[in-house]
Amino acid sequence: MSRRVKSLQLRLTLELAALFFVASCLAVGGLIYSASRTGGSLIDRELGLRAEDLARYVSRDATGKPRLELPPDLKQAYDASAQRSVFAIRDKDGRLVEASTPEVATLAVRWPQADSEPRFFGLTGLGPSGQDYAGVSVLLDSAAGPLSVMVAEVSGGNQLVHTMLREFVFDVAWYVPLFVAAVVLLAIDSVRRSVRPLRAASAEARNIGPGSISIRLPEADVPTEALPLVLAVNHALDRLEQGFAIQRQFTANAAHELRTPLTIITARLDSLEGNGQLSALRQEVGRMNRLVEQLLCVARLDSVALDVSTPVDLLQIAEEVVGSMAHLALASGRSIALTGAEHPVRITGNADAIADALRNLIENALAHTRPGTEVIVEVGSEGALSVSDSGPGIPLADRPRIFDRFWRGKGARSEGAGLGLAIVMEIVRAHGASIAVGDHTPCGARFDLRFRAA
């Protein structure tokens, strides 16, 4: 069988149904066979008895020739059923003593003599209606010496067997399909009930992802046969989670190892007095600091399961981020403002990650606008967060790609690595939030984030 049925339930059901069907057929067939055999031997016995009966009523007449003298009731019976029961009697020399019909008589004289062992035979196309007969011929002793007696009965006429079979089929055999159907239904129900825990386990498995690695498949109620699979999957998840933990640890270590030398370089450069080249060098180190920070942020988002289930206040996060970036904005000759909601905006998420996203959006806005302009952060009461600037805006053609890692707009100043918006996107995704890029009136870009309200 090249195409295997994959469904356990379907396979069990089909196989059970097939098995029951075959078993029932065999049982019914066996019953019919033995019934018809019993019926057949009953008929044979009947024919033999009738032959003996006939022989008993043969006697010698005055001339010494054998002669059949049936009692009136028997004679009446044979006459009435002349078409159904036929007989022929011959003496030991082959001469016909008596026959039920002339047709039988002409047939009988051509037959060889019977012997004492009864011989069963069939006759075809006899009589006016051309019926089939089954009969016996046997050599029997009688008052007139040995006689060869042949008795036959219309074979379709073995009413007994037919009646038996009909009764059997109508009284008993119709249970079989019902029984098969009941068993199949029972099997379907039983299999369905036993695979229900497996369905529950697979529903749970659908929720497992890099962000929710601590979920395990439920082991309770799982059928014993499937338990090893579920346990193996759970152990595999344990190992994966360990792997994630190791990677997280690696990221933390890498952060530590990279940050300390960078701090030293920054501090040494700060303490040096020098010409324009030194400030160019400071700028480069600043850029490198930022790049390392962003790379670590990306690595962390990739490797660590972000817990986005804490209730947080979006307004408070925005206040903190805007507050902490105000100095940077002022130092670059720009300003920053927070508008919108005046009361806490409760959402579920990760405060640190949302702050990261907002910080990146603000940095992005500050980097793409002229001094003297204002970056506006707006918090909406329904979990909306937007950052608008008054820069050149983002061309429509670029909008699908700005969230790609390392993508940078044409003519962009070389400061950014093209990671900021990718980080924003990762965080938005982890929160199941949405982000849209649009225009800020009268000019500039506007990023709209929408978080799910708590």
């Binding site: 300390t260 920054t266 805007v322 100095h327 508008t339």
Partner: protein, 225 residues
């Protein structure tokens, strides 16, 4: 002003020592939690800069040990771990502030000074920022050495801003500091005071200006004009 720097990275502690020295601090360096605890027992430091990654113990143990014996000196944590839990653990253990590596030396100095400017801190009596000098006891301001007359409210606002120099002061904090619980401030009073204060600073050619961060509060920063 004497600082203790607890940092196991020799190169970093060397630079910290020299840069903080230039900024006018007397600096001692401890390379391990053991040394740090010993130094803290003997000397009455004004502030501590603590790195969390130490060879013998976690830096947090120094923090908890210091707080347990009732020492209330300002402690600033330096850490390469920037996970929230680490920062929260540090602040809960009694740290006053934290900086994540890499940091700008100027920010570290500004933050140490801000800690020392807190009421009760070493710098709490005379606040200095840019060319401003505010005597918090005498309630007098001088800009570039020349005295400037301010109202009681203006002085209170400026004190708050100088204590948090370079960082934002939410409007709500100013309202809290200026008015008692019973007084219901008019939503317009603070902006009016700030407006006057800003004009007087400008008139006195101060090197710093008060900037409004709409929706958040005010910040005292370099004058951009």
């Amino acid at each position: 002003m004497r600082l203790l720097i607890i940092e196991d990275e020799d190169r970093l502690s060397g630079i910290l020592k020299s840069r903080l020295g230039e900024a006018g601090f007397a600096v001692d360096v401890a390379g391990s939690a053991g040394d740090a605890n010993a130094a803290l027992e003997i000397i009455n430091y004004d502030a501590v800069v603590l790195d969390l990654g130490l060879p013998d113990h976690d830096g947090l143990t120094v923090l908890t040990a210091t707080r347990r014996i009732g020492r209330n000196l300002p402690i600033l944590i330096l850490t390469a771990r920037d996970a929230v839990e680490d920062r929260v653990a540090g602040l809960n253990a009694g740290a006053d502030d934290y900086l994540t590596k890499p940091f700008a030396m100027s920010e570290l100095i500004a933050r140490i000074k801000a800690l020392l400017r807190r009421p009760g801190g070493v710098l709490g009596i005379t606040l200095e920022a840019g060319n401003l000098s505010l005597d918090t006891i005498g309630r007098e301001l001088s800009v570039a050495g020349k005295p400037v007359r301010l109202s009681r409210q203006e002085l209170a606002i400026l004190e708050q801003m100088m204590r948090r120099f370079g960082r934002i002061v939410p409007k709500a904090v100013l309202e809290e500091k200026l008015y008692g619980i019973d007084e219901e401030p008019d939503s317009n009073t603070i902006p009016v005071h700030v407006h006057h204060l800003r004009r007087q600073l400008q008139a006195a050619s101060a090197s710093l200006a008060i900037h409004t961060i709409r929706g958040v509060g005010y910040i005292l920063a370099e004058n951009q004009e």
